[in-house]
């Protein structure tokens, strides 16, 4: 309860005359983004507090935080998070490697693109859940089938991103490489790779997003640990707070990993002459 009430308290007035304006503006946009979720949470908390609702099916923030805290205290949260993160990490790694390789081959050679792309596009349109029975038959009910499902989810956005990025590299820039007599591998390393990097990173991020989606699908369909298992367990035992707690954990970890990619790759993209970046620099 305290956590919510602390955020409820009027934010300390922004009194930063010595700070550069960008810092203050950054802080303001951050606070603006928090208005809606914090406001809704506080309103619901109040409604339950005043007895307008019993909050049994939709637990108020305080109960959710208490549940999270309880899960964290017993170490359960850690076990489940670790299981899920490891699955996503393995599936993401596999999917990224495969997607990058196949995407690069399909982007580089038009013959392999004509051979590979139609099949891959057809496979891409299969709903993820449809793979589950097959993967369980192939890889068993333990980790392998889950990791495979996540890898499939990550593969397609990365594949599409890499192929599309290579196809859209400016022919004129490639010609500069040719004029300076770069060999095939040097052309890839010095021209193609840097040129595709921005869209590659975007595809990594959307791949990771799908990875988080697919891990839930995998864990809902039979797991003894993992955040998805917490969801299922919450449903079967009638503990909505635990479900929402697991959802919150998903949101936090998903956002954090996405942010990690963004931060880790930002130095590689400083050269970009993009609208978004200028806004960031201002």
């Amino acid at each position: 309860m305290t956590a919510v009430e602390m955020t409820l308290a009027p934010a300390p007035s922004i009194d930063l005359p010595t700070q550069p304006r960008s810092r203050a503006r950054h802080l303001r946009s951050l606070l603006l983004g928090l208005v809606l979720p914090v406001g809704l949470g506080a309103a619901w908390e109040l409604a339950v507090h005043l007895g307008w609702s019993d909050g049994r099916l939709v637990p108020p923030p305080s109960v959710i935080f208490a549940t999270l805290w309880e899960l964290a205290r017993t170490g359960e949260l850690w076990t489940h998070t670790q299981a899920t993160v490891l699955r996503v990490a393995a599936g993401f790694a596999l999917g990224v490697v495969a997607g990058t390789l196949v995407g690069a081959i399909a982007g580089y050679s038009s013959l392999s693109r004509r051979v590979l792309d139609p099949t891959l596009q057809a496979l891409r349109s299969i709903p993820s859940i449809a793979w589950v029975p097959l993967f369980i038959l192939w890889f068993g009910i333990f980790e392998a089938s889950k990791v495979a499902l996540i890898a499939v989810g990550v593969f397609f956005p990365v594949y599409l991103g890499v192929m599309g990025a290579i196809l859209s590299v400016d022919r004129k820039i490639v010609e500069v490489g040719r004029a300076f007599r770069l060999s095939g591998p040097a052309l890839v390393r010095r021209i193609l790779l840097p040129a595709v990097l921005p869209s590659y990173i975007v595809s990594l991020r959307s791949g990771l997003g799908l990875g988080w989606m697919f891990v839930v699908a995998a864990e809902l369909l039979g797991a003894s640990e993992g955040l998805g298992y917490l969801l299922m367990d919450g449903q079967q035992l009638g503990k909505p707070a635990q479900i929402v707690a697991a959802i919150v954990a998903f949101a936090i970890i998903g956002k954090t990993t996405d942010w990690l990619i963004e931060v880790a790759t930002a130095p590689l993209l400083r050269w970009q002459d993009a609208y978004g970046q200028q806004a960031g620099e201002a």
């Binding site: 004129k172 820039i173 010609e175 500069v176 040719r178 004029a179 300076f180 007599r181 010095r190 021209i191 840097p194 040129a195 990097l197 400083r270 050269w271 970009q272 002459d273």
Partner: protein
């Protein structure tokens, strides 16, 4: 010595872009190639650069037949075509792979100083103006010390003032090591101010129409009567090159040529 012998190019779509173009160009000579659209001037330049292969005929530089980009031939495009992920200095150093690090740094520093951008070494290309970016492209093409430098309408995207400035600048840089310059342009002023020899081409198919030698000493005064005369001469030649009734001036009656075709 750059020699072009009966060079022709037909594109896969059947367009005959260049027909029986022959020329021999002495080291240090400055040639301006001028002509209406579709006269094959860019095709010619790309063939010399080794970016496209000629369908017929041969191009040789000091005895080497050119079929792919050659280390002694540099090219400057219409756009700067800098690599946006490399700093200005790294862009200039792009073609200097075989050299030691000190040698590379020394050459890049010197080149940037020569084009007046020493203070821009560390910035990204996006921070340069159009004229500055093209100067970096000139520096990039010159640091490997090419014997032949090809320029494909290099200043056509710039405003008149910057263009003039860069034309003078190019002559300055040329004087350092005196490479052969082959400049494709559609600007008569530019051709007369820079070239020793102006090659006028005519379209459909692209071929040589006339060669006009320029006997003006440098630096050339753009306002002088001689300059104006020469400009008029080039303009008249250009007009005639587009008039189908006028026969090619340089159609030498070579016996073998008819048989070859």
């Amino acid at each position: 010595m750059l020699a072009l012998d009966q060079v022709g190019k037909t594109y896969p779509n059947g367009v005959n872009a260049l027909e029986r173009f022959s020329a021999s160009i002495k080291p240090g000579e400055i040639i301006a190639v001028i002509g209406g659209s579709g006269c094959g001037k860019s095709t010619l330049l790309r063939a010399i650069a080794g970016l496209d292969r000629a369908s017929r005929g041969t191009i040789t530089l000091d005895g080497d037949i050119i079929t792919a980009p050659h280390p002694k031939i540099g090219i400057i495009f219409q756009e700067p075509r800098l690599l946006p992920w490399l700093s200005v200095a790294d862009n200039v150093a792009f073609g200097l792979d075989g050299l030691s690090k000190q040698e590379r740094t020394a050459r890049v520093t010197e080149a940037l100083k020569r084009v007046g951008l020493a203070d821009k070494a560390g910035v990204w290309p996006r921070e340069l103006s159009g004229g500055q970016a093209q100067r970096v492209a000139i520096a990039r093409a010159l640091v490997p010390r090419p014997e032949v430098l090809l320029l494909d309408e290099p200043f056509s995207a710039l405003d008149a003032f910057t263009r003039r400035d860069l034309q003078d600048h190019l002559l300055d840089l040329w004087a350092d090591s005196r490479p052969t310059l082959i400049l494709v342009t559609h600007d008569v002023d530019e051709a007369v101010v820079l070239a020793d020899r102006i090659v006028v081409m005519r379209p459909r198919p692209g071929r040589l129409f006339e060669e006009i030698p320029v006997f003006l000493s440098r630096p050339r005064d753009r306002a002088s009567a001689l300059f104006e005369d020469l400009k008029r001469r080039v303009l008249t030649s250009l007009d005639q090159s587009l008039d189908r009734a006028v026969p090619d001036r340089q159609d030498k009656p070579v016996s073998g040529e008819a048989m070859w075709w």
